[in-house]
């Protein structure tokens, strides 16, 4: 295998530098928007890790975002620890919930998995709303915010969002270059063939599922720490998944660049709608929904897929390249898969 190109890492370093220095040039409003963009990017990457690389389309990942938020609020308020330190704990909360429900949810296939996850998110939402410990249906403010300096809070919250967004992109990139990622993609493309060469399907799915739960827990915790208020309806909002899904479909499902492009388009169009056309969020979601449906039916590989076909762009490709010719000729080329995804 060819050694990985350095270009992606230079890109990551540039993005990290930009995030580090953004608070010195951007005002409060812009920082809030950028935080939201980075958190949404992380969620889109994590949703894509599951949908694009394992074929599990979840409609219930808001459960992990919500659990992350509530873990952060309750833990830092009860223990009196700065909310910054509770962000990783929020991620662990999401991962733990994912690990607990995976054996049950994996019994459902395809669309049934999607809706089963949604039911799960509803159960978690209704349970959280019932217990006074979590503030009931009206929600709770983040009291632990008094433990941190007020002046630096927004800046630190932005850096945490930035770290989560960067880590999500870099993490999926590294994961997909590893043997584990190769196994994941093999299962997605042909489950039977992957099993027969010794890929443990259940284990691969489980790891991807728990990792995406971790990512949503981190993102949910960091987002609601920034807003300093959480309620069951906002934390367990299906629109977390709707946004991630639209971004992934429009950008290109099953690629790392897809969620990046999709996030830029999503927020670019949203700002355009808000400021230029002064239209409500509802009409914006309607427009995004129509675009996503059209992309799904006309160009299922998304905008990045189109660009790759047309101009041969490689970007953050995790494609493998065969070793030099003399070695390659020893092994006969594998016949192309005759079957797409096995139902």
């Amino acid at each position: 295998m060819r050694p990985p190109s350095l270009v992606p890492w230079i890109g990551f370093a540039a993005a990290a530098l930009a995030i580090a220095f953004a608070p010195t040039v951007a005002d409060g409003g812009l920082l809030r928007l950028l935080s939201e963009v980075l958190i949404t990017l992380a969620m889109a990457q994590m949703w894509n890790l599951l949908a694009g690389y394992t074929g599990l389309v979840s409609m219930g990942h808001q459960a992990f975002a919500g659990i992350g938020a509530y873990v952060l609020f309750v833990a830092s308020d009860r223990l009196g620890i700065s909310p910054y330190w509770m962000v990783p704990v929020a991620g662990l909360g999401g991962a733990l919930l994912a690990a607990l429900v995976a054996p049950l949810m994996f019994r459902l296939r395809d669309a049934y998995f999607s809706i089963g996850m949604w039911v799960l998110a509803e159960i978690v939402r209704l349970l959280v709303a019932k217990f006074p410990l979590f503030g009931g249906e009206s929600g709770v403010p983040l009291q632990a915010v008094r433990l941190v300096e007020a002046e630096s809070f927004q800046q630190n919250a932005f850096w945490i969002s930035g770290a989560i967004g960067l880590a999500a992109v870099a993490g999926v990139y590294l994961l997909m270059r590893s043997p584990f990622g190769l196994g994941l993609m093999a299962v997605r493309d042909n489950e039977l063939a992957a099993t027969s060469i010794g890929v443990n399907v259940w284990r691969n799915r489980f790891i991807a599922f728990v990792l995406s739960g971790l990512g949503f827990g981190l993102a949910g915790g960091a987002h609601f720490m920034g807003t300093m208020f959480v309620s069951p309806d906002s934390a367990f909002d299906i629109n977390w998944v709707v946004t991630a899904m639209f971004i992934v479909i429009i950008g290109g499902i099953g690629t790392i660049e897809g969620p990046l492009i999709g996030t830029v388009i999503y927020f670019g169009l949203r700002e355009l709608f808000n400021t230029w056309f002064a239209m409500s969020g509802g009409w914006y979601l309607i427009a995004m929904g129509c675009i996503a449906i059209a992309v799904m039916l006309l160009a299922p590989r998304g905008l990045w897929g189109l660009a790759r076909e047309r101009w041969g762009w490689r970007g953050l490709s995790v494609q493998r390249h065969p070793p030099p010719r003399d070695e390659a000729s020893l092994s006969a080329p594998l016949p192309p898969s005759t079957q797409g995804r096995t139902a």
């Binding site: 949908a51 074929g55 389309v57 409609m59 049950l104 019994r107 459902l108 395809d110 669309a111 049934y112 999607s114 809706i115 089963g116 949604w118 039911v119 799960l120 509803e122 159960i123 209704l126 349970l127 019932k130 299906i238 709707v242 899904m245 639209f246 479909i249 409500s280 509802g282 009409w283 979601l285 309607i286 995004m288 929904g289 129509c290 996503a292 449906i293 799904m296 039916l297 299922p300 797409g340 995804r341 139902a343």
Partner: protein, 288 residues
């Protein structure tokens, strides 16, 4: 006595849930596809019924069943012909899931923008409150009517699929999409009729539910999850057991409401999870 009444009302409410599930199960059985916009179409039908009620005041809402069902059939037919047939043709099970989810988001927000987010209800007049007593138990006419309609709908669909020429064509298309083409069957048309039937059943259920509880554009989610749970509890592809699944869900919801006044839906969801744990293929499915 109060518990027995709860139980009986739960069974009757179950008829309504079963009607929601029926359309979902039919589409899945024939096309191997789940319509995630099912709940939104149920709510859309309820808005149409409310519109008819304002146009024809004083007419019993039961007379609206036929026009609402016809409109829903036409809508389902067009939806399948114009959009969903393309999604089914990709043979990737994910495409219909994502496309119908997109349609659900579009419809939900469209209804918010057009009709507002305030709760609406259909005025049932005397029907909603009338009832009778048997041995000290008070039972409303409305839930009885709902259960009778649900059983009739299940019976009619079962007969249509098993004994009519149309049913034969549908079953053959479901089994071998490519082979029936050689015998002059147009799968695209068959699928569209099936989707029309599915939405017609769902719209009748939506109208009946609007007589009992108020709804908002966001109620579609609850309707979809209820329909889905009915299908899973009953076992995939089994109509008769879907009726049982609906009744189990209705009883769980009302018993839950008695125990815990504002969280009835939670108990219905928990029942679904319990069934999934014990019998992943539903009550009718084979044990694994």
């Amino acid at each position: 006595m109060a518990w027995l009444e709860t139980l009986i009302n739960g069974v009757l409410l179950g008829g309504l849930y079963a009607l929601f599930g029926l359309g979902l199960a039919l589409v899945f059985g024939v096309m191997r596809m789940v319509n995630l916009a099912h709940g939104e179409f149920v709510v859309l039908a309820a808005y149409f019924a409310v519109f008819l009620a304002t146009q024809f005041p004083g007419v019993s809402p039961l007379f609206f069943i036929a026009p609402v069902a016809l409109a829903a059939f036409g809508m389902g037919y067009l939806l399948q012909r114009l959009l969903l047939n393309r999604a089914v043709a990709t043979d990737d099970p994910l495409t219909p899931v994502l496309v119908t989810f997109g349609i659900a988001v579009v419809l939900r927000n469209l209804m918010v923008e057009l009709f507002g987010a305030d709760p609406r209800a259909l005025d049932g007049g005397a029907l909603a409150t009338a009832g009778f007593e048997i041995g000290g138990l008070r039972i409303g006419w409305y839930p009885v009517l709902v259960l009778v309609l649900a059983v009739l709908a299940f019976g009619a669909l079962q007969w249509l699929l098993q004994h009519s020429r149309f049913g034969l064509v549908v079953r053959a298309t479901s089994d071998h999409r490519e082979i029936v083409r050689t015998m002059g069957v147009r799968p695209r048309h068959v699928y569209a009729v099936v989707m029309g039937l599915s939405l017609a059943f769902a719209s009748v259920a939506g109208l009946l539910l609007a007589l009992r509880t108020s709804f908002t554009p966001f109620s579609g989610v609850e309707r979809l999850l209820g329909a889905f749970e009915v299908v899973i509890i009953g076992g995939l592809g089994s109509f008769r057991w879907a009726l049982v699944g609906g009744i189990a869900l209705g009883v769980a919801q009302l018993v839950g409401q008695r125990l815990d006044s504002n969280a009835g839906a939670l108990y219905a969801h928990l029942l679904f999870f319990a069934v999934l744990m014990v019998r992943p293929n539903g009550i009718a499915g084979a044990r694994t």
